[in-house]
Structure formats: structure tokens, C-alpha cells
């Protein structure tokens, strides 16, 4: 086994493990892209990576800095226009998994990447905004959220709903007519949360090695639900770490 690993590495490995081979996966840049490429290089060689720049089935041999890097177009099965990737590929539900990050996340998996602060017109912090996320959250078969867990991020109520999770609880997605099933799992640097089948509330179901429930509670801005049967993530394997670190070393233009 490995000598050691960081919490971010554990998070990336745990996210990669969620990806079943052969699935089409809508990938944003950053952690989702790293995790998806890790999965493709390990247990899921036929994972289909779809980037919103229009690259279907990209097979990058290094980690792109942006979703529009040339390596994605060069290695894709098809490069289509941006309207087409949203209209013909995402919207009809052809993409099994959507991978999203979050600046804020609430107990129902609703995501904010727009503004911090209660006043949209006069925000405390202006974030990048929606991008492809609202429709990824709506139309992918299911959503995986990858996000570091802390009180700033895991908040009782998001300041702005950029992408709908389970809205205000059970039945909400159905009432909205959303076709995708919503967030199936939230992977953090501390553990894994899954929506309760009855309440839709994110529930801690798995701890990463060395993490305690108390530590997760302390990083959660609401009264955290904890599963009766709490599992523990297997440590990253040597292979996972080797591949992940090799991938990270190929990342272009990383802030040093």
C-alpha cells in the first residue's frame, strides 16, 4: 500500500470509483476531469467523456487546463458545436452522469456557483455563474457532486440556486418535470453523502480513512444526518495513486 495520500487525493479516488465503465459522463474542468480521467485509466477504460466544448468521447492523455484544450478535440470521437452538445446530447438524457462542483451546497443537494450574499444585485462575492450546470443537473441520468466539505460550502441554505438538487425535498424534482434523477452522491474530502430515499436529505454514508463523524459534523452547516450503517472508503490503492499522480503531473499550467 501507499506511504500516504492527501484528502484531495482520497476525494478524487472516491469520485473516480463512482464511475461505471461504459457510461457517458458530462465532465467539467478541475476535480471532475481528474476523477473521470483517473477512472478511464483504471477500472473504466470505456468511460465516455463529454465536455461542454462539444468534444464527445475525448480521450486526453494529459489533464487539460480548460474544457476547450486542443487535446480534447484531437482525441474525441466527434467534435460538435456547443448548441449541439446541449440540445442533441445533454437535453434528451443521453448522458448518464453529470459531474458538478459547488461553491455552496445545501442538505438537498442544491448547488450555488453564482453569488455569495443574500443580495444578487450587490453580492458579497461574485462567482462565475451557471455555465452548463443547471441543465447538467436537470438532464443527466444522475449527478455526482465533488466538493470539499467545510462550513462555508456546506450551508443550511444556499444563497442562490444555480443548479437544482432535490429542491425543498421529496417530490420537488418530479413537480418541476426534471428528467434526471438528481444528485446520487456527494463526494467530499471527508467522506461520502447520499440522499435518503425517503427524505432526499443528504446523509453521511461513508467516511474516508481516518475521518470521524464528529469531524464531518463540524464541517457541515446543518444538523447532519448519519446513516445507521456507516461504511469506510477503502484507502487509495497504489495503482490509483500512481495513475492519479502521473495524471496530475501532466496537468498544464498548474499554479505552482
Amino acid at each position: 500500500m501507499s506511504e500516504g495520500w492527501t484528502a484531495d487525493e482520497m476525494m478524487t479516488v472516491a469520485a473516480a470509483r463512482q464511475l461505471r465503465d461504459g457510461t457517458a459522463c458530462f465532465v467539467g474542468i478541475g476535480l471532475p476531469s481528474t476523477a473521470a480521467n483517473l477512472a478511464r485509466a483504471t477500472h473504466a477504460p470505456n468511460l465516455v467523456l463529454v465536455y461542454e466544448s462539444g468534444c464527445l468521447g475525448a480521450k486526453p492523455d494529459r489533464l487539460p487546463l480548460s474544457i476547450g484544450d486542443g487535446v480534447l478535440a484531437d482525441t474525441a470521437d466527434a467534435v460538435v458545436s456547443v448548441p449541439e452538445v446541449f440540445n442533441y446530447w445533454l437535453q434528451p438524457g443521453r448522458i448518464g452522469i453529470g459531474f458538478l462542483g459547488a461553491a455552496q451546497l445545501d442538505r438537498y443537494g442544491n448547488i450555488n456557483t453564482t453569488v455569495i450574499g443574500k443580495n444578487y444585485r450587490d453580492p458579497t462575492v461574485r462567482l462565475p455563474g451557471a455555465g452548463g450546470a443547471p441543465e447538467i443537473a436537470a438532464s443527466c441520468g444522475e449527478v455526482i457532486v465533488v466538493v470539499r466539505q467545510n462550513l462555508r460550502t456546506f450551508t443550511d441554505r444556499v444563497d442562490f440556486v444555480t443548479s437544482a438538487g432535490y429542491g425543498s425535498g421529496p417530490g420537488h424534482r418530479e413537480r418541476l418535470g426534471l428528467h434526471g434523477r438528481g444528485p446520487r452522491v456527494v463526494i467530499t474530502d471527508l467522506g461520502v453523502l447520499e440522499p435518503d430515499p425517503d427524505t432526499c436529505e443528504l446523509t453521511l454514508t461513508c467516511l474516508h480513512p481516518g475521518v470521524t463523524v464528529d469531524r464531518v459534523r463540524a464541517a457541515t452547516g446543518w444538523e447532519l444526518a448519519v446513516a445507521e450503517r456507516l461504511t469506510r472508503s477503502p484507502q487509495p490503492t497504489e495503482q490509483e495513486l500512481t495513475v492519479l499522480r502521473a495524471l496530475e503531473s501532466t496537468k498544464e499550467g498548474v499554479l505552482h
Binding site: I29, G54, D69, V82, F86, T124, A130, G132, G177
Partner: protein, 272 residues
């Protein structure tokens, strides 16, 4: 038929203060040189339209050219925030910036409607989000066959769209390939268009994945080698990721930004 012009002439001929202007290019083929020429010509009160107002609009916003921004994602891809954009939104510096905010799917379909000569587009979008609360440009529409309720967004029809492409021929036919994003739609949606190209050639050799814009659908073409830098032109250059990273430092501070603007944009001479 498209006119062959210099960059300075193209911008001078086509853009007016107060225009609705789209500079498109999805990470790839971003018309940075044209953006900087707009800054040099001191255009102002522009409504800037762009799915991803990344570093190129951070420059235009920081230089005070924009009054309004219609967009779906404003960040420095893979790096972080856009500091000039943030400063404008949070502190109205150098001038206030009004926002109209959408999702990528919504923006893409707004261009599609514009290119199609339709007043609006229909999509499954924005549902369950707070975006519709902040604009009247996101509405619902019922399917006349099933009754299902969907989302409608109005067409985008910029006064001018500017894009960068790899090549044009002397007749003004434009050829681009690689990630071509929403450029065709953005050009066809606009009243007028300016295309900067890496080179003007005698004959456009067909290339896999190419998008060709016929000369008669383009207003003006300017040869601007490297005109996408720090973005790239597939087959001609690679993305200057280091510049995107450096931008984080350049743009974080108003004075550093203004120094950069002075030295790298305003003082640059362009051939008329």
C-alpha cells in the same frame, strides 16, 4: 461578400458606442486581438455578449468599455475568478456593470434563435434555479401538442459579432476547425460580423471538422496572425496556459492591471 480589411479598419467601420457586441470562441479561437483593438479605439457603453466572458472580457470590462454583460459563465477557466469582472460587479469599477445572466444551454439557444430568424428558442432549461428571478428574458411556454411546460429565451441579435478563425480565402470565405463552439450561430445571429484569421490563403483546403462561413454571410475579414493569443488556433498555435495563470496576478490589482493595459494594449501600434 465580405470585405478584406485591417483589424483597425474593421473595428472602426463596424462598432459604435452603445452597440450590442458578441466576441465568441469557446476557449479556442477567442478573438483577443480584436478585443484589444476595441479597447484601443475607446469604444464605450457596449453591451457585451458572450457565453464565457473569460479573460478577453475581463480586459474589456477593466478598460471601461462595457455597460452591460449578457453571459452564462464568467471565470478564468481552470484558474479561478475574473478580478476585473468581480471588481465591476462588486464595486462598480471602473464603471457599473449591469448583468443579464443565463446558462450555457440558454445562451447557445439564444444564438440559435438569432441565426434562425426566430424571435425565441425553446429548451429544457433553468428549471428549479434562481436565474429566472433576475431577468424577464427567461419565460415559460406550453407545448401546443402535449401541454408540457418548457422554457423560452429570446433570440440574441448582436449588432456585431467578432470571431477568430484559422483561414479565409481572398473572396472572404472563412474556415475554422477544432472546437468551433457557437461561432457560426453568433455570426449568423448578428447584423454585421468581423472575422479575424490566422492567414488569408488562395484556396481553402478542406479540413476534417471544418466549419465554413461563406463570404456572403460575413461582413469583414481581417488577417491577424496570432489574433487569438493567449487562446489558440488549432493547427497554428497552442493555448498559452501560462498567460491565463499570470492573468490572475495581473488582474487582481487595479494598478497592475492598468499598467498592463497601458503597456500591452494602449501603446501597441496596429497597422491601419
Amino acid at each position: 461578400m465580405a470585405k478584406l480589411v485591417s483589424l483597425a479598419q474593421g473595428v472602426a467601420d463596424l462598432l459604435r458606442d452603445g452597440d450590442v457586441v458578441a466576441l465568441e470562441g469557446f476557449t479556442h479561437l477567442i478573438p483577443f486581438a480584436a478585443g484589444q483593438e476595441i479597447i484601443r479605439q475607446r469604444r464605450k457603453d457596449l453591451t457585451l455578449v458572450r457565453m464565457t466572458p473569460d479573460v478577453i472580457y475581463d480586459q474589456l470590462i477593466g478598460a471601461g468599455c462595457a455597460r452591460r454583460l449578457i453571459f452564462s459563465w464568467g471565470g478564468n477557466p481552470g484558474v479561478g475568478s475574473l478580478h476585473r469582472f468581480r471588481d465591476a460587479v462588486q464595486n462598480s469599477w471602473p464603471v457599473p456593470l449591469e448583468l443579464e445572466e443565463h446558462s450555457h444551454a440558454g445562451m447557445a439557444n439564444r444564438y440559435v434563435a438569432g441565426a434562425s430568424g426566430l424571435p425565441f428558442a425553446v429548451l429544457r432549461g433553468y428549471t428549479g434555479t434562481d436565474l429566472p428571478r433576475h431577468t424577464t428574458n427567461i419565460r415559460t411556454i406550453a407545448c401546443p401538442f402535449t401541454g408540457e411546460v418548457l422554457t423560452a429565451v429570446p433570440a440574441l441579435r448582436p449588432d456585431v459579432t467578432v470571431v477568430h478563425a484559422q483561414r479565409a480565402d481572398r473572396a472572404g470565405n472563412v474556415q475554422m476547425w477544432g472546437i468551433t463552439g457557437v461561432q457560426k450561430e453568433a455570426v449568423l445571429a448578428a447584423r454585421q460580423s468581423l472575422v479575424t484569421v490566422e492567414e488569408i490563403v488562395d484556396h481553402l483546403e478542406p479540413v476534417p471538422g471544418q466549419v465554413v462561413l461563406p463570404s456572403w454571410a460575413v461582413t469583414a475579414v481581417a488577417e491577424v496572425p496570432g489574433g487569438a493569443h493567449p487562446s489558440y488556433a488549432h493547427g497554428y498555435s497552442v493555448r498559452d496556459n501560462d498567460f491565463y495563470l499570470a492573468w490572475d496576478t495581473i488582474s487582481r490589482d487595479r494598478d497592475t492591471f492598468q499598467g498592463w493595459l497601458e503597456q500591452h494594449v494602449l501603446k501597441v501600434e496596429t497597422p491601419a
